[in-house]
Symmetry: C2
Subunit: 204 residues, 2 copies
Amino acid sequence: MSSDSATTGQRGRPRDPDFEDRVFDTVVALYVAHGLDGVTMGAVARGARVGKASLYMRWEDRDSLIRDALAARIVLDTGVDTGDFRADLRRLAEQMLDMLWTDTGLAYMRRIIDSSVHPEVFRRGDGSSPIVLDARRLVRNAIERGELPRGTSPTVLMDMLFGASVMHASITPPGLRSVAQERSADYLDALVDAVIAGATAHAR
Amino acid sequence: MSSDSATTGQRGRPRDPDFEDRVFDTVVALYVAHGLDGVTMGAVARGARVGKASLYMRWEDRDSLIRDALAARIVLDTGVDTGDFRADLRRLAEQMLDMLWTDTGLAYMRRIIDSSVHPEVFRRGDGSSPIVLDARRLVRNAIERGELPRGTSPTVLMDMLFGASVMHASITPPGLRSVAQERSADYLDALVDAVIAGATAHAR
């Protein structure tokens, strides 16, 4: 659905092309700062400077708004499959780590937790699983090409790759964040090598 | 401080040996369900069936109560150092994974995020870093004993170990949790092997 239908109301209000962007930005910011309880239709309307009625024209309720906003913002390009497994893996980890330094990354982590705690808000598969499941495809393809030994565990491999990225970003104290970001390339190289060596050692 | 001093008020109220346990349980439950905003002195008092005044006798404010409760409940025995690196690592990962299936684990993950977002509540080092820093000691000791090659990165190794555990526990859908818990031993064996192989391959 285009945002026009939500913002060009019956009373002929002007089109508001940034409507969806502002709403989604506000949802992410509120969610990161206050968690689920902080994301109310009223707070989103105030933060995004839109009418509460226009929110309800577009989204049935608060939960569907949160799901849409997070799905739109938490995006990794897992379709990458160049045929060079190490390069694909590094690109995936780099996207993940880049995201994790931002508010979107904090929202990603909050959603992982809340998917366990609040199944009434997030559906099965709203957590991190789509990204991880997609990424496992890379492993299976690399096994078929013979780049990885049969018996390589996609689960252990992707858990290590994404999990280490999450740990790295989240335990770096705010004061050291800019230094860690500068050194991201070295960290990613070491991580990808370790993950491949580890996951394939077990299979050989 | 013993809980007696908090609960034996000047008016000679009966001792309440479970005071601290009930308060900490309530803090963890509220924090897991609602995040920081849900943990108010009033909500804790109601949930734990204690007087608000008795909370303020013991804790200056909400933030110090949260810090104390989470520090008391989120505990891994990182002091383990038997001299067998693989066994130590497996025991550490097992403790982490066991914790992650519980409310305490969800609180641990929430605290990691909130340590970034709310430095006014959590101090530097309140996040996951104490556990991870302690664990890195194991790696350094194993290097000194010659069990691991010099050049092994304690950072990458522990990021993979703890990060994979976090991913594994958090992306398992609630319906598959009991199956995954039954298979924990296999997962831990594969993970610890992969982590050691990966972290040491890079150093050799």
